[in-house]
C-alpha cells in the first residue's frame, strides 16, 4: 500500500524559512531492468511531485528513473500564513497519492 511520510513544522514565525521533508513508498521500477529470461520489466515510477501551500504551488519536481525507490525529497519554503500544505504524487499506471499537513504561523 502506498504511504507517505511528511515532516512539516507544526509552528513557525511569519517569514521563517522552514524545511519540508517528504517520503512516498514506491518501487520506482526503472524500465531498464530485465528478468532472467530477458524480458524487460515495464517502467513504473512516480513522474511528478508537487506541493501546494494554501492552494498555491510552491514546489514541483519532475522525477526520472534515476530517482531511488521510495522517493525522499526535501525542500524549503517561507512560512507566510497558517494553513495547509498539500502534497501530490503522480506516476505511471494511474498512480496518484495525496497527503497534507497543517502549520500555524504566528
Amino acid at each position: 500500500m502506498p504511504s507517505a511520510l511528511i515532516n512539516v513544522p507544526t509552528k513557525a514565525k511569519r517569514g521563517d524559512i522552514i524545511e519540508i521533508k517528504t517520503l512516498m513508498s514506491h518501487i520506482m521500477e526503472t524500465g531498464f531492468r530485465h528478468t532472467a529470461t530477458g524480458e524487460v520489466i515495464p517502467r513504473d515510477i512516480i513522474t511528478s511531485f508537487a506541493c501546494r501551500y494554501n492552494g498555491e504551488e510552491v514546489f514541483r519536481v519532475d522525477l526520472f528513473p534515476a530517482i531511488a525507490a521510495n522517493p525522499f525529497i526535501t525542500f524549503f519554503t517561507t512560512a507566510t500564513a497558517s494553513g495547509k500544505f498539500e502534497f501530490e504524487w503522480i506516476g505511471d499506471n494511474g498512480f496518484s497519492e495525496t497527503a497534507s499537513a497543517s502549520i500555524s504561523v504566528e
Partner: protein, 158 residues
C-alpha cells in the same frame, strides 16, 4: 565470476527455451548507456543553448558510493531568493545512466532557500551535473565525479 556464471545460465536458459519452442530467441540488448552527447543534448533541452557558467551551485554527493541504488544528493544554490532575483529551477543530469535526466526541481521566490535533497540511482562511476536557472535567465552549474562500486538500474532480477 558470479556475473559470468549468471550470464552463462541465462544464455543456456534462452537457448534451451528456444530449442523447445523451435523459435529464434530474441536477444534483448540492454539500452546503451547515456553518452556524453546525450548529456549535452539533455542540457541543451533545458538551457536552449544558453551559456552555462560554472559556480554558485553546490552539488553534494558522496565521492565514493558503495551502493548505487540509493545515493543521497543535495543541491544548493548560493543566490538570494527575492522576487527580483531568485532561482527558478534546478536540473540534475548524469553521464552514464540509461537516461541522462535525474530530476527537475521547480522553485520560486517563496522557497526562501534554494536547496533540495533527494536520493538517486547511479548505474556506474560517472559525472553528475547540476544546473540552476536564475530569474534573470542565466544558468550556473556544478559538476561532481562519483565512483560507484555497486551499480544500480540495470541489474537483473533473479
Amino acid at each position: 565470476m558470479q556475473q559470468a556464471n549468471s550470464t552463462r545460465r541465462q544464455f543456456l536458459g534462452l537457448a534451451g527455451g528456444a530449442a523447445v519452442l523451435g523459435a529464434v530467441p530474441i536477444v534483448t540488448v540492454r539500452p546503451a548507456e547515456a553518452t556524453p552527447a546525450e548529456l549535452a543534448s539533455a542540457i541543451r533541452n533545458v538551457t536552449g543553448g544558453a551559456v552555462v557558467k560554472t559556480g554558485k551551485v553546490k552539488l553534494d554527493v558522496p565521492p565514493l558510493v558503495e551502493n548505487g541504488n540509493t545515493v543521497p544528493m543535495t543541491v544548493s544554490v548560493a543566490n538570494p531568493m527575492a522576487p527580483e532575483d531568485h532561482v527558478k529551477s534546478i536540473h540534475v543530469f548524469n553521464e552514464k545512466n540509461p537516461q541522462p535526466n535525474i530530476g527537475n526541481f521547480h522553485l520560486g521566490p517563496h522557497s526562501g532557500r534554494a536547496q533540495v535533497s533527494t536520493r538517486i540511482r547511479l548505474a556506474d562511476s560517472q559525472k553528475i551535473v547540476a544546473i540552476a536557472k536564475l530569474s534573470d535567465g542565466s544558468y550556473w552549474s556544478a559538476t561532481v565525479e562519483v565512483i560507484v562500486t555497486l551499480a544500480a538500474c540495470t541489474e537483473e532480477v533473479i
